[in-house]
Symmetry: C2
């Protein structure tokens, strides 16, 4: 099969509103650029997938991606950017392996959902941990109340997940940590959706497949003084200092993922106009759906408490399993796809990352209102 | 920018003969299919990059990729296929972490080049290792002579790298191990280039970016009785049993890489006709270049001994640095690109993986003959 103009234009019309929790929607203009360059990157004579990671063309791509990311997130010179593999799951181990193991300290975790729980599980293998907050008693519907968590000045670090994709619970602002304690953020599912104060964090990391690119790329933004803490005897891939010394080329990085991330960052800078604008748009999209939930309190039951509702993943349930199934089925007739909640929570999860167009959210909000009216 | 028919046809003409050692050439027909489906995978309403890894469409893709790989390589039911991240570099640690650590045994390594050397370095952190063969004294130009290596019946495993990309040294056939000793093969750079007896191996693994797909995907083919050996206290991502139990979805797999690998495997099955044919074609391509080297013994100096010359990476040097630079420069005028050898060996490395067309090798062979005649 070869690519023709007909293929390309036909397929654009066939696109649905994709509410997948991740891997998730990518801006259409980015996909079209990737498509145009797939067989031959301009000036390269080859696909970006075929280029040596050490050649000038790819080195320019990775350096430009980092430079643009630094601009977009206002990353200070105190922090390095690493492009790694292994997803958040490998960071669950790399963070305690580098910063907790052999430290004689305790790492404090705020467990606000499934991902925080997995993270502390891996950390426990490496050293002393404390679940300073654990939301499991209320099925992870909230974040800790202000002043609720005592963070020791001597903690190895304070860890939180800024947005719990499965439960739809998001920290509106980062939790407070003493200045002596590195603040570590798993930003996997709200990375690049709003500004984040990098200077205030020891590590901010994210797998790419929500807002930043394809699955298989992990971005780690790490304060320089934390890089060298890992013991030389750790598996080489797990040592931040190896990746740092080699500028993310300790081994072959996921080159295609870095290339797509670079385009998404450019889209955020140039087409959207930066993260303040993106955050405003995301807040408006989320508000449309939460308004429908609040307007139909006997029909839709939101999962998260109002003060920590996620602007990325809107989670709610319906009065019965039958109505839930009907909701998903009817939604598909409006090109609304991938709404089913994670199997551990059930219900509906509408993921409305950066690349979900306003039109898609409007379509869903309208459908929700009509569906509630028809079935109440 | 949007993709049009003009973009596509223009860019195909601009493609060069890409002799990159990896990431490396991908079959043009595969790139064209990926291009046609980039914005909207038929039936999915979205790009493959935007699909949930747990949705039916991607699950079908990964299962079909595995099924086709099993057909192509005749993988027996005794072995599982895992799709992981982290490259060969992470396998350097995962293999000893799972199979050597706490075993009270010694792992034996045949070190025939840079990659074997890196692998044994990581293994040393996990347990007792022995370099049963070490080719460093002759700058890694050979493999062990038959009968040269004593493998203990009680070794944890016997490890080798079937093709050393940097030195251009390849095992024509796997080394012999006692049946009690799992044979472990790093096949990163000759995976899918020829048949390999999987049943005879404990593990055959490969990063994808030579013959099997984009960087960021690692294929691990592992005998089922070896999967459960890792200690529960290892970092979760490093435990083969986690990935096995979750059918490569312990975390989000590199979905785009799996999708491209699936297409490359189909190309090998349907367009090429299987690995016997592919191996024959690869042998013919390599012979064209080695013939020119042997015909000009005072001009071209091959790096590898004749009995273990790689059919994937043809490494040689020229009489002077000036001629080397001129060779690379002139080659580019014939659309011959990415010839420079790895910085640790120098000289020329022409990587002629599966996707390098015969025409590209013929063009290089002709150029080599003319260049030698002109400059001898």
């Amino acid at each position: 099969m070869s690519a023709t103009a007909t293929d390309v234009s036909q397929t654009t019309d066939q696109r649905v509103f994709n509410f997948s929790a991740g891997p998730a929607a990518i801006p259409l203009s980015v996909l079209q650029e990737v498509q145009a360059e797939m067989v031959c990157l301009p000036g390269a004579g080859a696909s970006v997938m075929e280029l040596s990671h050490r050649g000038k063309i790819f080195v320019d791509i990775i350096q430009q991606a980092e430079a643009d990311l630094r601009t977009l997130l206002s990353i200070p010179e105190t922090h390095e950017v690493l492009f790694l593999q292994g997803g958040a799951a490998l960071q669950f181990s790399m963070i305690p392996a580098n910063l907790l193991k052999d430290s004689q300290k305790t790492a404090q975790y705020l467990v606000t959902g499934t991902w925080g729980k997995k993270a502390i599980g891996e950390a426990r293998k490496e050293g002393e941990v404390e679940a300073t907050f654990d939301g499991s008693a209320t099925n992870f519907d909230r974040i800790p109340a202000e002043g609720d968590c005592k963070i020791s000045d001597d903690a190895a670090y304070l860890y939180y997940c800024s947005n719990e994709t499965i439960q739809g619970v998001q920290f509106p602002t980062p939790p407070a940590a003493p200045t002596s304690v590195p603040l570590i953020c798993d930003a996997s599912s709200d990375f690049l959706s709003r500004p984040i104060d990098i200077a205030n964090h020891g590590i901010v990391y994210a797998c790419a497949q929500k807002n930043a690119g394809p699955a298989g790329l992990t971005v780690v933004i790490i304060r320089k003084d934390l890089i060298d803490r890992g013991n030389e005897n750790l598996p080489g891939y797990l040592l931040y200092k190896n990746h740092s010394a080699a500028e993310s080329m300790w081994n072959t990085p996921p080159t295609f993922g870095v290339y797509v991330l670079g385009k998404i960052v450019k889209w955020l800078l140039n087409d959207i106009g930066g993260l303040d604008t993106m955050a405003k748009q995301n807040a408006e999209k989320a508000a449309m759906l939460y308004e429908v939930i609040d307007a139909n309190p006997d029909f839709y039951k939101g999962h998260a408490q109002a003060d920590c509702r996620s602007k990325m993943n809107v989670t709610f349930n319906l009065p019965s399993d039958e109505l839930l199934a009907e909701f998903v089925k009817e939604a598909a007739t409006h090109k609304i796809e991938n709404l089913k909640g994670h199997r551990s929570v059930g219900g509906i999860r509408a993921s409305i990352y950066n690349a979900m167009p306003v039109e898609g959210v409007k379509t869903l909000a309208k459908f929700m209102t009509e569906f509630a009216a028809k079935n109440s």
